[in-house]
């Protein structure tokens, strides 16, 4: 009887002490919100025709003002284009035509991608997102780094824009290591490895800046 009670106590304590996915995400969220940062993200992202394309981009974030700038190196069709996401507007700079297309944040369309990339800047809000059921965190090794693997399943994929999300976070420093989104049919929509993540010094002018000779197109 005592053994049973002890075992039950161990199970109870381990459940009580175990970090939930939300808690782990919140720790990562605190890291991402604590100050300006930049990271290089490399992987695959779905194109508008549903095909996977190589992705290589530099993300710069100014969390205090909720401004994110994404500079593309790949796919080739987007190379040298960049995207600036602010709470009110999304600015899409097209290198080939030297144009800045400005969309209201709610209506932003990011050409060339079959996935709404502007949601990537909301990684730190995944923890609070309603309609996402998180499974129990798994302790894994990712590229030789001790990591948490978190899997969230969307209750309403139509509303979420994806069916499942996988996030790998460093177990010791909470920094993002990999993000992957899947459709309801479990087809990969986006898989990006976070590389060269480090704190940086930015201000609004550094991120919301465009070539002086660009043509501006305003969409409403």
């Amino acid at each position: 009887m005592n053994k049973r009670m002890a075992a039950a106590l161990v199970v109870f304590l381990s459940l009580a002490l175990a970090q939930s996915a939300q808690q782990i995400l919140q720790e990562s969220s605190r890291l991402l919100s604590s100050g300006p940062w930049r990271a290089r993200l490399v992987g695959k992202i779905v194109g508008p025709g549903g095909e996977l394309q190589e992705a290589d981009m530099t993300v710069k974030s100014l969390p205090s003002l909720k401004i994110t700038r994404i500079e593309f190196s790949k796919p080739d069709a987007l190379a040298d284009n960049y995207l600036v996401i602010t709470p009110e507007k999304v600015y899409n700079y097209l290198f080939l035509t030297n144009q800045v297309v400005v969309y209201p944040r709610a209506k932003a369309r990011i050409e060339g991608l079959g996935f709404d990339l502007s949601r990537m800047g909301e990684l730190n809000t995944l923890a609070e997102r309603k309609g996402l059921k998180w499974q129990r965190p798994l302790a894994v090794s990712y590229d030789g780094v001790a990591a948490w693997k978190l899997v969230g399943v969307a209750n309403d994929p139509q509303e979420s824009g994806f069916g499942r999300v996988e996030v790998y976070l460093g177990r010791h420093d909470s920094r993002p290591l990999r993000t992957a989104f899947f459709s309801t049919a479990d087809k990969l929509l986006l898989r990006l490895s976070w590389r060269e993540f480090h704190k940086a010094k930015f201000n609004e002018d550094d991120l919301v800046s465009f070539p002086a000779d660009a043509e501006w197109i305003k969409k409403n």
Binding site: P48, P75, N81, L96, G112, A212, D213, K219
Partner: protein, 271 residues
Amino acid sequence: MKKLWFAILLSLAPAAAAQSLEFGVWAGGPGLSVGPTVNLNLPSGDWTFDAYLRAYLPDSAESSFGLGVKRAFEAGPAGRGELGARGFIGMDAHYWLEAMGTAVLGQAALELRGGYTYNRTPSHFWPLQGETIGPYLRLDGKFRLSRKLTLRSLGYFYRGGGQLEAALSWRVKSDTYTLGVGGVDRASNAYALLGYKAPYAGAVVEGQIRLGALNEFRLKYADRSYKAHLTLAYPARAQVGVAWDAWALDAEVDGGGYEFYLRYKMPLEGL
């Protein structure tokens, strides 16, 4: 009288939803003609509607009215474009029709513009539109060969003449160099093109020179507050323009006379 006011107010109703209203004053010669102009710009989703009105003094019979419509579309990798048309008609029955299409598809960008002007030089319909009479067709293309190399092409055909041009631009860090060739009217009328574009103290400066059958020097400057351009050509022609805030001023002078256009774009959003 009440009916008249009602009709005027009704006709102004679209202005409440317009994004901008542009007022301009055009002046040109030889002699002195003045053309007050108004352009009402009304975007609605992917559609944009324009209405143009241009008086013309002292010969008011040359006054013209125009309507334009274009639709934006987005597709494909980094794909976006526009299809549109506009037409102007003058009180003395002259007219100008134009259709245009632009497309950015991945690593290629194309712009096609074609039209027809009847009985007047187009600048008399709307300021600073070029000087062709009859049909015309212009195709501009940009093709990214790699992240460093871009091929640019131009084909322009109009009654009595034409121009073909091809140029290669390559980037070295933030500087862009351009080298190209072109011809006007016939292949033997060739010219060479040299260009250089670079950032300078927060601004972008671009220079282009064409030498041969076409002799022209172009300089562009843009910073966060001003955009300016200058063209000097031989046979003698000079064009200069500057834009700041909601204002723009353009002027052109050549052997046939001069043109001058000052405009102000008033934003109407939120009215």
